[in-house]
């Protein structure tokens, strides 16, 4: 498949003046364990990178650990797999409605080949995906699952098979913190991936090079090496991969040895002129694939560098200068190799390092659309309908978030191409691509909606409760502490005292000059929480305060 142009007219980034004149400070720090203060700020930094935001409860939880323990907790999730997506759709208009599946129960175990039902199941899957992120456990698992979804990208619009897509996302989730080589092995013969990159059509008579290319270019060694794999390597890889087939009704991968190229496959000098012996018989596909992966992964430097850089860009920053290369990337790549492609040791080394916690590496990630949406809901404890008791409405609400993130150019399940989202690879802007004159107003409209009237459907509304949020802070009656505590959670970059004061006077004090007016209003509310006037007085001011915080550019950073 030709890679579709990923910069369509709609997604064109705004022309910007390059920041070349200014020298941006970089750090010399490396992988030595972070020994600076393990304070609230450091905890929030760690959590905002590894999870979708840091709620007050999350922060309190991780305060009970040391830095090293906290990272270990994040890297060793114990939560079970989330419940699978359910039938939130009706079957009107379907030729073969899936009537055996009761509404509100899962569809993942029963195949149906009705196009309409399949479409609705895929929508169900996407909404469910948002719900999983919203309800994430206190670990890095969801961010890593999304990382792998971006890395081993597939698109629902191409795969179009709901069961296979659910299986693919589950594979990523189960292996998010496992072994990269094993995951590569598994993804190669995953039903959805075989469908996505035509592996299921790859036949000895005329091999399809799609997966063979992307396996090398996008999934393992990358294209930046010099020398690198050759076009002949792509062809040879394609031949190795012939014969795999998928059985959609059982969401199973099969191997048809009659479609397999049994000749030997010669690879280039990049791969030490390796020859993979041609096999025949039912295990030919497995055996040759294993040999090929052994060959590819013998390019230890290339594979480790490529993947480590992607991880670095996902969790740290997109600029990798010579110092970071030497002090961080190279040692991480070595750790990756030494641990036989286990992901956890790499993550542990990075997340516990002085480099990761360096002041210069804080606050510099621009939140992705999923980050903006999910983080807002988690940090503000937005209440969603119970997916058990009110699954229909829960799915409606998740769908709203899904749509909002989609119009900001990140649709879960459908990255724009097999390269994933451009924000993670497109030089020079990287995640600045999330923000342009089209998407920034949309992001603001989203946050304005959630802090304003909220989103209403089926008689339920999801919105931020600013009074509830403020209530859990250390001293909401003191307007200065209220602002400080709020900014500590919501912002990753500093705000001057002068600005805090102006904000306090203008918003919390409604132009009055004495702090005690806010304190009195807050206490009046506490004394009589059901009095609507007392409630409204604090509600409108807190609402305006948090809307203002979210409108500023600072809120877009993590």
């Amino acid at each position: 498949m030709d890679r579709r142009a990923f910069l369509t007219a709609k997604r064109k980034a705004v022309q910007r003046q390059p920041d070349t004149v200014r020298h941006i400070a970089r750090t010399m720090s490396g992988l030595a364990p972070y020994s600076g203060p393990w304070d609230t700020e450091a905890i929030i930094h760690l959590l905002k990178r590894t999870m979708f935001g840091a709620s007050l409860a999350d922060i309190s939880y991780f305060k009970t650990f040391t830095m090293s323990q906290a990272v270990d907790v994040l890297l060793n999730p114990t939560a079970p797999l989330p419940s699978p997506p359910v039938k939130d759709y009706d079957t009107t208009g379907a030729e073969k409605p899936d009537t055996t599946i009761a509404p509100g129960t899962t569809w993942v175990n029963e195949y149906i080949d009705d196009g309409l039902i399949q479409g609705r199941r895929i929508e169900s899957l996407k909404k469910w995906g948002i719900g999983v992120m919203l309800n994430q456990d206190r670990s890095i698992k969801e961010k890593m699952t999304l990382f792998w979804h971006n890395h081993f990208a597939t698109e629902t619009s191409v795969v179009a098979e709901p069961q296979a897509l659910y299986k693919y996302h589950t594979l990523l989730r189960n292996n998010a913190l496992g072994n990269f080589k094993s995951l590569t092995r598994a993804i190669t013969v995953d039903v959805a991936m075989l469908k996505y990159l035509n592996g299921f059509l790859n036949t000895n008579t005329a091999p399809d090079e799609n997966y063979g290319r992307e396996l090398q270019e996008l999934f393992t060694v990358g294209k930046a090496n010099n020398p690198n794999y050759t076009e002949d390597d792509v062809k040879a890889a394609a031949r190795v991969l012939t014969g795999w087939r998928i059985d959609l009704p059982t969401t199973a991968t099969t191997f048809d040895s009659s479609k397999h190229d049994t000749g030997s496959k010669q690879f280039s000098s990049f791969y030490n002129n390796t020859v993979i012996a041609g096999r025949s018989g039912p295990t030919a596909g497995d055996d040759e694939l294993d040999d090929m992966l052994t060959m590819i992964f013998s390019k230890k430097a290339e594979v480790s560098q490529f993947i480590v850089k992607k991880i670095y860009r996902w969790f740290c920053y997109y600029t990798i200068d010579a110092t970071a290369q030497a002090n961080v990337i190279d040692p991480l790549a070595q750790i990756f190799q030494d641990n036989n492609w286990e992901i956890k040791p790499v993550l542990a080394a990075l997340l516990k390092s002085e480099h990761f916690f360096d002041a210069l590496n804080r606050g510099c990630l621009i939140k992705s659309p999923l980050d903006i949406a999910v983080t807002l809901c988690r940090e503000f404890n937005v209440t969603f309908p119970d997916p058990e008791a009110e699954y229909q409405t829960a799915y409606y609400m998740w769908d709203f978030l899904r749509n909002e993130t989609m119009i900001c150019n990140q649709e879960f399940g459908d990255p724009p191409s097999v390269s994933g989202w451009p924000s993670y690879y497109q030089v020079p802007q990287f995640y600045e691509l999330w923000i342009n004159s089209d998407t920034l107003p949309k992001r603001n409209m989203f946050t304005d909606t959630l802090i304003g009237n909220g989103y209403t459907r089926s008689g339920k509304t999801i919105k931020i409760d600013p009074v509830a949020f403020a209530s859990q802070l250390s001293n909401p009656g003191d307007p200065n502490v209220l602002i400080d505590d709020s900014l500590a959670i919501l912002y990753r970059v500093p705000v001057t005292d002068a600005s805090r004061n102006t904000i306090k006077t203008n918003i919390l004090l409604s132009g009055q000059t004495s702090d005690y007016y806010w304190t009195n209003a807050w206490n009046a509310y506490l004394a009589n929480p059901t009095d609507s006037m007392a409630y409204q007085t604090v509600y409108t001011r807190l609402r305006d305060l948090y809307r203002y915080f979210m409108n500023l550019a600072e809120y877009q950073l993590a």
Binding site: G363, M445, R457, P494, I507, T540
Partner: protein, 527 residues
């Protein structure tokens, strides 16, 4: 690098708040719109609201010369000596605080109306609540979440912000200076105005000065985002253009925050913005103590504040005249309450009730409106000035006399009928006045007909597809009835709303389509 080293060069408030674009889904300018351009007279009238934050002691601002004895006895330690009270031409009964020489001149030039004892029933003595009441124009026992000028603007520009700016209205509907947010500009759905956070930022903006950010990765990313913010800030261009069109202005006193804000207002008015409402504010009026000095009651805190207000308004008016735009501007002061008749022993006053309101402009109907408050001889610490005029009558009168708002619309905006006080002279009001040009400006997503309605009305809405909610809410924001709540394909649809049994009054029909929303005010009347 240490984190704390960055604190010095961190956030400064952005110059402009609000005014984010809401992309239209079709051309904001229909052929119909274009045909109208140039054919109608749009209003060039402007209203400037001056908020005095803290509760201004009106009784020492506008002093009852008749009944001076009771005035003096009630508040001896802060009473202005009778021979220092500034005289007003044509009145021997009322005068001004000695600091307000500017206002005195304006009064004597026929450019000032003083409305006595403005308040409302069951006054509230809390700053927050009282401010909200004055801004929302609600009864004192209900909470209304929109402002009176916000509702006026929402009535004039019902499609805002969808499809704004557009050629009919390329400028902000309202501008607030020196503040971040204000209830007064809040419409039923969204804020109708935008803020210039402070005068310094205004000048930075028009001079293209950029907030400093550090040379760190987060500084770089922040700069990038702010640059995009600038690009999407719809109104920074028109504001800069308007400012650029005024190369010089009159003199304003320095060190006067109100003057600094009014100077910007004058510049933008002269510069050609079609913005109708400006809001400025100054604070410090909560003079519980040290309202005057111990030895001389004509000087001290309150004297300085009143002097500041007077000087600012006078130089503003002079500047407007010099710029040739004084015909266009009407201004009014307001404060959340007056103060107690009886002073306290800290040489101050506590929260009170009614107080005078200034309405000023070249085209004001000048003079004293109402009579001096009568101060009883046996004054107690609990006594407050009873109101003669409901503050909402002033709003209502300005809307109908200055902005030519029609009766039914007035009811929709103000919720009730209020007394008409002759305050403004605008010959245009009295004919058909301004009309549907602006009603159709922008992108109409929801509308109802007939309006006003007696029992039922048809609601027509436009959705871009996906989940669409249409419901009817009352003036307190409570959802009365959901008319539809489901998925639609993109298109235009019509529903009936039957309001049988509902009390007459103001309702809003609200459309929610994703994050898009639009609210249309409706008025249910008795037949």
């Amino acid at each position: 690098m240490k984190r704390k080293d960055f604190l010095r060069s961190a956030t400064i408030l952005p110059a402009l708040i609000g005014g984010f674009s809401v992309k239209a889904y079709s051309a904001a300018d229909s052929p119909f719109m274009q045909a109208l351009m140039g054919a109608t007279v749009d209003t060039d009238k402007v209203l400037v609201l001056i908020q005095l934050n803290g509760g201004n002691d009106g009784l020492n601002m506008v002093i009852p010369i008749d009944g001076y004895g009771e005035y003096y006895n009630a508040r001896t330690n802060i009473a202005i000596p009778q021979n220092k009270v500034l005289a007003l031409n044509g009145s021997s009964k009322t005068g001004l605080h000695p600091s307000m020489t500017g206002m005195q001149t304006l009064y004597n030039e026929g450019k000032l109306a003083i409305v006595q004892a403005v308040g409302y029933p069951s006054p509230n003595f809390s700053h927050f609540r009282a401010t909200d009441i004055w801004m929302s124009a609600s009864d004192s026992n209900v909470e209304v979440d929109s402002g009176w000028t916000g509702r006026y603007l929402a009535n004039e520009f019902p499609n805002f912000p969808n499809g704004f700016p557009n050629s009919a209205m390329p400028d902000p509907l309202a501008i607030q200076i020196g503040s971040i947010t204000s209830l007064v500009l809040q419409g039923p759905a969204v804020s109708m105005g935008m803020s210039i956070t402070d005068p310094v930022n205004f000048y930075n903006l028009i001079d293209d000065l950029v907030d400093p950010t550090p040379d760190t990765p987060w500084g770089k990313e922040l700069r990038y985002i702010r640059m995009v913010v600038q690009q999407t800030q719809q109104y920074s261009k028109v504001i800069k253009a308007a400012a650029a069109a005024v190369p010089s202005q009159g003199n304003y006193p320095t060190g006067n925050d109100l003057a600094a804000q009014l100077k910007i207002v004058a510049r933008l008015v002269k510069g050609g913005l079609k913005t109708r409402i400006y809001m400025v504010s100054t604070g410090g009026f909560d003079t519980h103590s040290a309202q005057t000095t111990a030895t001389d009651t004509t000087v001290g805190n309150h004297a300085n504040l009143l002097g500041k207000v007077s000087d600012a308004i006078k130089s503003f008016m002079d500047d407007l005249k010099g710029l040739g735009v004084e015909d266009r501007v009407m201004g009014m002061t307001f404060s959340e309450f007056g103060r107690r008749i009886k002073s306290n022993s800290s040489i101050g006053t506590d929260h009170g009730a009614a107080a005078p309101v200034f309405v000023f402009g070249k085209n004001v109907k000048p003079g004293l409106v109402g009579t001096n408050p009568v101060i009883p001889a046996g004054i107690s610490v609990n006594d407050n000035i009873p109101f003669q005029y409901d503050f909402r009558s002033i709003y209502s009168s300005i809307l109908s006399q200055w902005f030519c708002v029609k009766e039914a619309d007035l009811q929709t905006i103000m919720f009730k009928d209020f007394q008409n006080i002759p305050l403004c002279l605008n010959a245009a009001c009295g004919t058909t006045g301004l009309d549907d040009v602006y009603r159709n400006a922008g992108e109409q997503l929801i509308v109802n007909y007939p309006n006003p309605f007696v029992e039922s009305t048809k609601i027509t809405f436009k959705t871009r597809g996906g989940h669409t909610l249409v419901h009817v809410i009352d003036s307190l924001g409570r959802s009365i009835k959901t008319l539809t709540d489901m998925e639609y394909t993109a298109g235009v649809y019509t529903l009936d709303f039957n309001g049988y049994g509902l009390p007459s009054g103001v309702y809003y029909t609200r459309l929610q389509n994703g994050t898009l929303q639009q609210v249309r005010p409706m008025l249910k009347v008795r037949s």
